[in-house]
């Protein structure tokens, strides 16, 4: 494990943390298999160096950024976030990174850019178990104000070390008020656009996964009640706890959705 030099952050919750072993062996990273225990076993074939991140679309100047430069661009903060999966389980994870807004400012998007889409790596050589039936690469995206919200974390590490491969090394997104699948892993490209971008799960099944996918106990998924969640902590049997609107981050994010019918824009 490669330790990161981190600074404290005000964006931190005091909930009991999920043990490292659980957060790194229970992952949805379908490029490495569809079972949640698969990525922990298979993702060692991911090469995180050399790694570059492309900046494309509606920006002043398209460019390619080296991962090591990206990591040095701003001080890396240690932030403890609640993490809520659409499958009705949740974790509390100390992530390490800095606000995506800092990087977006660096990218200099044009005023016409309204959304940012991020592309995950797809490489059959590094992903021998890449399942068929999906339109790879994995794509996710945010509205510009969501991407600029200081909570949205450009993440390089967790638990004080660089990200384990199965958690989306070397760089991923964490938006703690949204369901986990919004958090693209192993990102190779940021694309700025004026149209709501395609996102993988929304494309597969739009009635199940909306573009916004804000954590919302009042909007059920066809298969999972979203009213409560199993909180995976150090106990053998996770306790079921009520799910909070915006995963408890309403103070910081609710105003972005003023006047929107969140049952319609789920």
């Amino acid at each position: 494990d490669e330790a990161l030099k981190t600074v404290a952050s005000k964006y931190t919750v005091s909930d009991a943390q999920t043990p490292f072993a659980k957060a790194t062996h229970y992952n949805n990273f379908y490029e490495y298999g569809t079972d949640k225990s698969d990525p922990g076993r298979n993702a060692h074939t991911l090469h995180t160096r050399p790694w570059t991140v492309q900046v494309t679309g509606m920006v002043k100047k398209p460019q390619t950024v080296n991962i090591d430069d990206l990591m040095k661009y701003r001080p890396i903060e240690s932030r403890v976030y609640r993490h809520r999966c659409v499958e009705a389980w949740s974790m509390v994870i100390p992530w390490d990174g800095y606000s995506l807004s800092e990087f977006i400012n660096f990218c200099q998007p044009l005023p016409s850019a309204k959304y940012v889409q991020f592309f995950s790596l797809v490489d059959k050589k590094q992903m021998p178990d890449l399942p068929g039936g999906y339109d790879w690469p994995y794509r996710e995206g945010l509205r510009m104000d969501e991407a600029m919200n200081p909570l949205t974390l450009l993440t390089f590490g967790c638990y004080g070390n660089v990200l384990p491969n199965q958690n989306g090394a070397p760089v991923r997104i964490v938006t703690p008020w949204k369901y986990g699948f919004k958090n693209g892993k192993s990102i190779v490209r940021f694309h700025f656009t004026d149209k709501q971008p395609q996102t993988t799960w929304n494309e597969i099944s739009s009635q199940e996964y909306g573009f916004y996918s804000n954590v919302n106990p009042n909007v059920d998924h066809p298969r999972w009640s979203q009213g409560h969640e199993r909180r995976i902590d150090s106990s053998v049997f996770p306790k079921t706890v009520p799910t909070l609107m915006f995963n408890g981050y309403g103070d910081q994010v609710a105003s972005m959705y003023n006047g929107m019918d969140l049952k319609k824009f789920y």
Binding site: T34, K36, V236
Partner: protein, 237 residues
């Protein structure tokens, strides 16, 4: 298989059918049920329900392969009952662990002498479960499959068979195919789009259904041939 061996083989089959449960309890004791034990137990008991259903459905086609295998029929009922046993564990996992039922509070209540706590806690999660039954098709088909297995289990004793009459009993127990089918549908409807984990169970079920159809067709053809020959043989006598 010689008939005198059957009680011993039965004992072995009992043990084998309990191995998955023992394994699950062992993993629980070792704190080795993964990050999300409720999910692990749900899938484990669900998988074994389908496996045992498929094994019990395989009994008939396998014994038809050879006359010596015919007493395999003596194991079919217990295999079916074990399928029901794991289905019930699966349902109980949903009711007591998945739904948000507060098991520690219920246990504490019972220990303090308030048996009613079991019901009190149930009433708290009941609305969510009712909502699931009304809204989620994978829960509906899964529950329907369990109800079928329940009906087969309660009618499985010999005396019920006699009371019902063989024909009725058989008609009812053919529903086991429906239960297995619903079980597989339940599995498909619960996995995320693009996940193909249920295909193996599906393939085995299809194979077993085909074996049954093929056998029926073959028997029908044979009996119609025999019927056609009848007058000839009759004239000879």
């Amino acid at each position: 298989m010689p008939n005198r061996l059957i009680p011993y083989v039965k004992a072995v089959v009992h043990l084998l059918c309990l191995v998955p449960l023992a394994l699950l309890l062992y993993r629980f004791k070792q704190d080795n049920l993964g990050a999300d034990p409720v999910n692990t137990i749900t899938h484990f008991t669900g998988d074994w329900t389908i496996y045992l259903l498929l094994i019990s459905l395989a009994v008939t086609p396998v014994r038809r392969l050879h006359a010596k295998l015919s007493n395999l029929i003596r194991f079919r009922r217990m295999l079916g009952l074990y399928a029901f046993f794991y289905a019930t564990l699966h349902l109980a996992t949903y009711v007591f662990l998945f739904s948000g039922y507060d098991v520690p509070t219920a246990i504490a209540g019972v220990k303090a002498g308030h048996l009613g706590e079991i019901v009190t806690q149930f009433k708290l999660v009941w609305p969510t479960m009712w909502d699931d039954i009304l809204q989620r098709r994978f829960i509906q088909v899964g529950f329907a499959a369990w109800v079928i297995l329940l009906a087969l289990a309660v009618t499985s004793p010999q005396f019920v068979l006699r009371a019902m009459g063989g024909k009725n009993w058989q008609r009812l127990h053919r529903l086991v195919y429906v239960a297995a089918f619903l079980g597989v549908v339940h599995f498909w409807w619960l996995v995320k789009a693009g996940v193909r984990t249920p295909w193996k169970d599906t393939a085995v079920l299809m194979l077993l259904l085909l074996a049954r159809l093929a056998y029926t067709a073959w028997k029908r053809r044979r009996s119609s041939k025999t019927a056609a020959r009848m007058p000839v043989s009759a004239s000879r006598t």
